[in-house]
């Protein structure tokens, strides 16, 4: 799988293939271990509730990383991503069941620049509401 998209084939408004991700408690434990972020609000319901959360919540960085896959799956080479930023606007609450939390991510080309890069704007939705704000990636396309 080489880069799957070329600069010449892209226009402002081009939609990226969307992605639906499911986070269960196991996903959060896996991300905690891989990232080294062991904050208990991401795996311990008692601690999460003590700090005023409805339940355990996903790492914001897990949501950001998952949303980024829409971009890297599209371009093929993760090294083509030059910039990536998000605001964390709402928590993704992950219940202690097998269904977990479903996050739906879409992306659209929002700008095409003379230097061969494009800006992709991402939207991540959980229970119908966006959970990331100003989620934007700048990628270089061949």
């Amino acid at each position: 799988m080489a880069a799957t998209v070329a600069f010449a084939d892209v226009e402002v408004g081009t939609e990226l293939p969307p992605l639906t991700a499911r986070f269960t408690r196991a996903t959060l434990v896996g991300y905690a271990g891989a990232s080294g972020d062991f904050n208990p609000i991401h795996w311990n319901q008692r601690v999460a509730r003590e700090v005023g959360l409805p339940d355990v919540i996903a790492h914001g960085m897990l949501t950001m990383a998952t949303a980024g896959r829409v971009v890297t799956d599209w371009v093929g080479d993760p090294g083509a991503v030059l910039e990536y930023g998000v605001r964390f606007t709402r928590p993704v609450v992950v219940p202690d069941d097998d269904a977990g939390a479903t996050v739906e991510i879409t992306g659209v080309v929002a700008d095409k620049r003379d230097d061969g890069t494009v800006r992709v704007d991402l939207t991540a939705r959980f229970e119908g509401q966006t959970v990331l704000g100003r989620a934007q990636a700048v990628v270089r396309l061949p």
Binding site: M1, A2, A3, A21, T27, G30, Y31, G33, A34, S35, G36, D37, V51, G52, L53, G60, M61, L62, M64, A65, T66, G68, R69, V71, T72, D73, G76, D77, P78, G79, V81, L82, E83, Y84, G85, V86, R87, F88, A137
Partner: protein, 151 residues
């Protein structure tokens, strides 16, 4: 508790180097559900011009967080870590991060403001190879909710 304005601009020099491991990149990619072959398969990464597997763009947080702890836990800064939420994160890459890179991180406190009564701290962690080749800058914005406010 207000953040100490004297700390704006403070630079925290690098600690020990972080060696980006091939299995760590694979483990991280798996944890975020990323099956992109460039993150797992050395031969595929090589076909894209990379010397080893490529880290997903947010992998830099793993490296930056270690450096960041020194800054955000600095007692003189005055950040109430027990009330902190991650408000914003941004990465800007000079070149991709790949397995085999041995990197060091310099963290700078860029701003310490009060927003709607909450402390807002922005740090920038610059990741470079040990020989000084820049790789990535990571901006991290933390919000410490004012005492007494419940979410």
């Amino acid at each position: 508790m207000a953040l100490n304005q004297d700390y704006v601009g403070k630079v925290y020099p690098p600690g020990p180097a972080y060696l980006v491991g091939r299995e760590k990149v694979r483990e991280f990619a798996t944890a975020i559900g990323d099956d992109n072959p460039a993150c797992h398969d050395v031969a595929h990464a090589a076909s894209l011009g990379h010397p080893d597997v490529v880290a997903p763009p947010t992998f830099a947080i793993v490296i930056a967080m270690q450096a960041l702890d020194t800054a955000i836990l600095d007692p003189g800064l005055g950040l109430d870590y027990s009330r902190v939420v991650h408000a914003e994160q941004r990465f800007a890459y000079t070149r991709p991060l790949r397995a085999g890179d041995s990197v060091v991180t310099t963290t700078t406190i860029e701003s310490a403001r009060v927003v709607a009564g909450n402390d807002m701290l922005t740090t920038r962690s610059d990741i470079a190879t040990e020989s000084g080749e820049p790789i990535c800058s990571c901006w991290n914005v933390l919000l410490a909710r004012a005492a007494g406010e419940e979410s």
